[in-house]
């Protein structure tokens, strides 16, 4: 039985690598850019799902961790010469100008900073449960954004950082997305993953059975923060300019809709949800074009698409709470093994 799973994993890797190569050589620039976006959001959605869906800790702060990763990567990637002319509000600290590193180090450092912050935050955050946890994490995400606006010496304030070298290509984004999926799946199928699911299903029972719930939650939180930080770095190197406004609650809302649509707790669902939501929002771009509605000129981002998305979210919750995959993975659908419990 296990052999089949190994084969499946191997096939998945081969197909992904082949697809990345094929897309890079055969698709036009526009499609590759969308695929880049999808790959980055796969990283974010799969890691967000680890804390929200698998561990059942409903947190709303990925925008904060993504912002940390993006700013870290941006500060390390922009060359000192290019940085000199960017700081329009106040002069930067001298050490900010001297920072410089290659792409891999920048990504890893962004992830490491986000994970470190998650480890520190886990002490206050996991003292509360349920709705309160959602609000506290939302508050932290918001505070990170405010810090970014109020420290122009480092972040250039609300103007953000520009001219970030465009390092992100499909080999990077797709490859890291593949690694993220494999790492997260391995965690879910390990001892820790079972502890996380126990926390989700019944925290008090898990404590009674001797599961160290705090450890399980913190591990999930730090892992998801690490990949969100890395994803943020990739995003910065794809967009080539970032500002605090990019990382407001709307960013979290997008990720939330992705994992709810795919099914909270399913990594496969998170991937499917990403493809649907990111592809769908490209396809729905026509809704945001100016048009006449009841005599009003509609305009503005994020306009009509967001109305449609919020309605979709409400409808899923009312009529199909499980989402597309529920808690199932691809392996469950292919019936490779019988699983005990959910």
């Amino acid at each position: 039985m296990i052999k089949k799973e190994q084969w499946l994993k191997f096939t998945f890797i081969v197909i992904t690598l082949w697809f990345i190569w094929f897309a890079n050589t055969h698709f036009d620039e526009y499609t590759v850019r969308i695929l880049n976006n999808i790959a980055i959001f796969v990283i974010l959605a799969v890691s967000y799902n680890l804390i929200n869906g698998v561990t059942g800790q409903f947190s709303l702060e990925p925008n904060g961790f993504v912002a940390i990763g993006a700013y870290t990567a941006a500060l390390l990637l922009v060359s000192p010469e290019a940085k000199q002319y960017q700081y329009a509000i106040v002069d930067p600290y001298p050490f900010v100008l001297t920072l410089h590193a290659n792409f891999v180090v920048a990504l890893l450092l962004g992830g490491a900073f986000a994970a470190t912050l998650a480890a520190i935050l886990s002490f206050p955050v996991f003292r509360v449960r349920g709705d309160y946890l959602a609000i506290v994490t939302l508050g932290f995400g918001f505070i990170i954004k405010i810090l970014a606006i109020n420290h122009p010496e480092v972040t250039n304030g609300s103007l953000g950082l520009n001219d970030i070298p465009e390092f992100s290509n499909l080999y990077w984004t797709g490859g890291i997305a593949m690694i993220a999926v494999i790492v997260v799946l391995n965690i879910i199928n390990s001892k820790f993953g079972r502890a996380m699911k126990a926390v989700r299903d019944d925290e008090d029972a898990a404590i009674a059975m001797g599961v160290n719930t705090f450890k399980a939650k913190t591990l999930a939180f730090c892992t998801s923060a690490f990949f969100e930080g890395v994803g943020g770095g990739l995003l910065a190197a794809l967009l080539t300019s970032i500002s605090p406004d990019l990382f407001d609650f709307f960013f979290t809302f997008q990720l939330l809709i992705i994992i709810v649509l795919g099914g909270l707790g399913s990594t496969t669902g998170a991937i499917i949800g990403t493809v649907l939501v990111m592809g769908g929002s490209e396809w729905m771009r026509f809704l945001d074009e100016p048009m006449k509605l009841f005599g009003y000129e509609t305009h503005g981002m994020p306009g009509m698409r967001m109305v449609v998305f919020s309605l979709i979210l409400i409808f899923i919750m009312l009529f199909a709470r499980e989402g597309i995959m529920g808690k199932k993975e691809l392996t469950d659908v292919l019936k490779f093994r019988k699983k005990g419990g959910k």
């Binding site: 309160y132 939302l138 508050g139 932290f140 109020n150 609650f249 919020s310 979210l313």
Partner: protein
Amino acid sequence: MDLTMFMQQMVNGFSLGSMYALIAIGYTMVYGVLRLINFAHGDIMMVGGFLGYFGIAVLDLPFGAAVLLAIVGSALLGMASDRIAYRPLRSAPKISLLITAIGVSFFLENAFNVFFGGVPRAFPVPAYLENVVDFMSLTMPVSAIIVPIITAFLLAIILWVLYKTKYGMAIRALAFDVGTVNLMGIDANRIITLVFGMGSALAAVGGIFWAVNYPSVEPMMGVLVGLKAFAAAVVGGIGSVGGAVLGGLIIGFTEVVVIAFFPELGGYKDAFAFIFLILILLFKPTGILGIDFEKSRF
């Protein structure tokens, strides 16, 4: 910083705090009966402000009639949101309710954004509210005096309903134990609808006050105010109406006074409420006047 200046800031803090208090009451009442953080509450306040704007600018109503329109419209919207989005999920896990509430909130914001544009619209404040009064060497607009007075009046009405009427008794019973309330022959859904109506009406008044103070309305104006008001409800003790008022005043005063004394902290104005919220949850999760919901049910 002389005494006059200090008193001036006190008046401003009281006015802002009253506004937060009005919105926090709705949060606290809905949480009491449903155990739901109604994410869309801040947006109902935004709709109230917009309805007031349309009442005056489009329908040419007098100010009082526009306020009434805003109150009725927002109350209906609050009840409708419960009927359409929350009622089907009564037996669902709490997280589903919260996600739905986030969806409703985003829907209201973006629908208004699409139809009325994201550009702030100037709110036509009636002249008699902008008149400046000299009171014991303090200068302040009439609105700064009227806001706390109306808040106190509305609070008195709410407390009267809660503690002197049959409906109020049903609301308090519902906050205590949902299962038993149904056994006693009370229609829980009707009571929850009433709570949504009351909370949304207060939010609409808060929205009008907000629009009068910062004379503009825009689709996103409810987001931050809503979150701060929720923080106020938690600081005061969620589930307690008096606590919501207390928390609102604390957060309003903090914002005004800290900016007055330490202007360099101006950029962090919006973070105080969250810092308060986090500290309260760490050291006294039930808030200042709070009720321990976890214990009261067993």
